[in-house]
């Protein structure tokens, strides 16, 4: 019944779904189900929750978006802390605050935050970079880190956040570094490392890139378009 496509060899050159075959004009059921499963993983990731107990000692915060439905429709609310969370933050004397945010995939934080930080912490300690308590945010977007960093009065924030799930990457983690965080900053003020997961940018390399950018940000006292990610140049 299935008409096979005799160009399977071309799959070696791309992850795109080619040479799927067909029955009539339709995709074979096996491919339809494979696609559905990938989409199910992505949808489940969007609606996943932070595994708070497994994420170590953290200060739990919440945005103004009450739930996922509101979060998805009101990006502005995901960028602001709710009142209780605001009141829970007081200034600390530290160089860096690490902020974990669920974003569009809490699964990404649950899977990858601790393994990446396990590589990053020793490098920070060796350089005596001081850390604020780790903050964990529910229903947050990247820019919520700015308000948190401003209230903590830290020099620098590192936001780890679940990225928008793709069909082949439901748990991709993003990292955003911002110097002198304050409300109202936009993306050009940050440096971003994307696609952190074992099948994408592996933990150790991701942590080394983060450390390189943190070190450079503290040295140059800036982040954003003026801070170039020359880590790859340095190691090549």
């Amino acid at each position: 019944m299935i008409i096979d496509d005799p160009w399977h060899e071309l799959k070696a050159f791309t992850a795109a779904r080619i040479a799927l075959g067909r029955t009539g004009s339709a995709m074979p059921l096996q491919e339809v189900l494979r696609f559905k499963l990938a989409h199910a993983h992505a949808r489940d990731a969007v609606y996943s929750s932070l595994d708070i107990d497994a994420l170590g000692e953290v200060n739990l915060l919440h945005s103004k978006a009450a739930d996922r439905a509101e979060y998805l429709q009101r990006p502005d609310k995901g960028r602001q802390l709710n009142e209780n969370s605001r009141l829970s933050l007081t200034p600390v004397n530290a160089d860096l605050a690490i902020i974990l945010v669920d974003g569009l995939s809490a699964t990404a934080i649950n899977h990858h935050a601790i393994p990446v930080l396990d590589y990053l912490y020793p490098m920070l300690q060796a350089k005596k970079i001081s850390l604020a308590p780790v903050q964990l945010v529910e229903q947050g977007r990247v820019a919520i880190g700015d308000e948190i960093g401003e209230l903590l009065k830290v020099k620098l924030i590192l936001v780890l956040i679940g990225e928008r799930p793709g069909l082949t990457s439901p748990d991709s983690l993003g990292a955003y570094l911002t110097w002198q965080p304050r409300s109202g900053l936009t993306d050009e003020a940050r440096n971003c490392i994307s696609n952190i997961r074992p099948e994408g940018l592996p933990y150790k390399l991701a942590a080394e890139k983060m450390y390189y950018l943190i070190h450079e940000a503290l040295r140059l006292q800036l982040t954003g378009v003026m801070l170039k990610d020359n880590y790859n140049l340095r190691i090549s």
Binding site: I3, D5, P6, W7, E9, L10, K11, F13, T14, A15, A16, R17, I18, A19, L20, R22, G24, S25, A26, M27, E31, F35, K36, A38, H39, A42, R43, A45, V46, L72, Q73, R74, P75, D76, L104, R164, P165, G166, L167, T168, S169
Partner: protein, 453 residues
């Protein structure tokens, strides 16, 4: 001027035309996010009732964005054709809706219409109205083939690759051609918008096209300034650009009308089209103005129609509304995506544009393949000029889901639609399609595969 309706002793007042248009819009998350949506179901219908009574002439007197501050408003007003408008100049928006659906509407009226008139009437129309009027309009364009004829549906072959790997792109391109896709354009969204990278990709497609004498055109969807830079050195068939419906939106895209004009004239002078001179490819999508913080208090569907007001000025080969790409804060679910796509297709066609639709969604939108099947089928019925063809519906570069090569076969088959005639002949010549439009099985010795396996 305020617009008013009274419903059971309650008088609704809408302070100006843009407020009235926004409140009359069928609900979507983007207008709510912008704070422009009607507060209640009743207020929305009240606004639609008030809008139905507004004379079309009012749209020539009251601009939704001031003439002085927005070059798109100036373009709309300065190029309005009063002669074409004359036969319908006595209509209200409501009359206009009834006339469009009647058996004696003259749908060549487009030059007499402003985008705001068209947006307004669409807000009073149900989905079936949007389909039935759009179906009556045929917009035909040509470069190396003929797109938009009745009974035809073309496909943009979209062989994207996350690192622009030439072999990866060629593999997806081969897959699409063997499935009968690629007559609208073979168009790549590049991962890197650099002159060298774009030139390399254009050369890749052009060599394939010439090797097999494929009657189609190519495009790498880079910024218009990149295309201008490489013209003459690279085989540029079509000039691509994303456009929006306010001057500020276009500024955020790094363009002005003068830049589009420069690119249009430069592309025309290359004379690469063999049977026609439609050289532009535009992409649009509701929500882009809000996303760029440049909506000026105008609802997202009216902004979108104004983008078509820009597009029609440059006689494009293809205009594609990438409707579900922008995300749920603008179009929340399948219902909103479907409605927006039908509005865009209708508005574009009524303004004289060769409309295609990227039937698509992201993973954080409340939509799935079933919603896309519904939308694809509705658009096929409505006479949409072209759709996208992405391997297995999964774009590995842009990380969203569009229509697959299989989907294109499906819609052609259930509705009896055929590819562009020149491309149809090519598919038959290469043994990929029979006289009845059915796909033929391909063997590993097929000519197209010879250099690739």
């Amino acid at each position: 001027m305020a617009y008013k309706t009274t419903i059971q002793q309650h008088t609704y007042s809408f302070s100006d035309l843009k407020t009235l248009l926004a409140k009359a819009s069928p609900y979507r998350s983007g207008d709510a996010l912008a704070g422009l949506a009607a507060d209640t179901y009743e207020e929305r219908v009240a606004a639609q009732m008030a809008l139905a009574d507004v004379p079309l002439k009012t749209f020539l007197q009251e601009a939704v964005i001031p003439y002085e501050t927005d070059e798109i408003t100036r373009l709309i007003i300065d190029t309005h054709d009063a002669t074409a408008f004359a036969p319908i100049s006595h209509f209200t928006v409501g009359d206009f809706r009834d006339w469009l659906l009647s058996d004696y509407a003259d749908l060549t009226v487009s030059k007499g219409l402003t985008p705001e008139m068209v947006a307004a009437v669409s807000k009073l129309m149900r989905n079936q109205d949007l389909i039935s009027v759009a179906k009556k309009i045929e917009v035909i364009t040509r470069f190396r083939n003929t797109i938009g004829l009745k009974g035809r549906l073309s496909v943009r072959l979209q062989p994207n690759h996350n690192t622009d790997d030439p072999k990866g792109i060629a593999a997806a391109m081969m897959d699409g051609l063997l499935y009968g896709s690629g007559d609208a354009v073979i168009g790549i969204n590049p991962a890197t918008d650099s002159p060298a990278a774009v030139t390399g990709l254009l050369t890749l497609i052009d060599q394939l096209r010439q090797q097999f004498d494929i009657p189609t055109q190519s495009c790498v969807l880079c910024h218009v300034t990149t295309a201008l830079q490489i013209m003459g050195k690279a085989p540029v068939d079509l000039v691509f650009q994303s456009i929006g419906g306010t001057e500020k939106t276009n500024s955020s895209f790094g363009i002005q009308l003068s830049l589009l004009k420069e690119a249009y004239e430069a592309a025309l002078s290359l004379q690469r089209g063999t049977i026609g001179n439609n050289v532009m490819y535009f992409e649009t999508g509701q929500g882009s103005s809000l996303s760029a913080n440049a909506h000026e208090g105008v609802d997202q569907q009216t902004c979108e129609a104004r983008a078509y007001g820009v597009a029609r000025h440059f006689n494009p080969l293809l205009v594609n509304t990438v409707v579900g790409f922008i995300g749920p804060e603008y179009l929340f679910d399948g219902k909103q995506i479907i409605r927006a796509a039908l509005e865009d297709h209708f508005c574009g066609k009524l303004l004289g544009l060769p409309m295609g639709v990227d039937v698509c969604y992201t993973n954080h939108a409340n939509a799935d393949q079933d919603d896309m099947d519904n939308l694809l089928t509705l658009l096929g019925v409505a006479g949409c000029n072209f759709i996208m063809g992405v391997p297995g519906a999964d774009d590995i570069m842009l990380n969203y889901q569009s229509t697959s090569f299989h989907d294109a076969l499906y819609i052609r088959q259930v509705l009896g639609l055929k590819p562009a005639p020149e491309f149809e002949q090519w598919l038959m010549k290469y043994g990929l399609m029979d006289d009845n439009g059915r796909s033929l099985p391909v063997t590993s010795s097929h000519l197209l595969l010879k250099n690739y396996l």
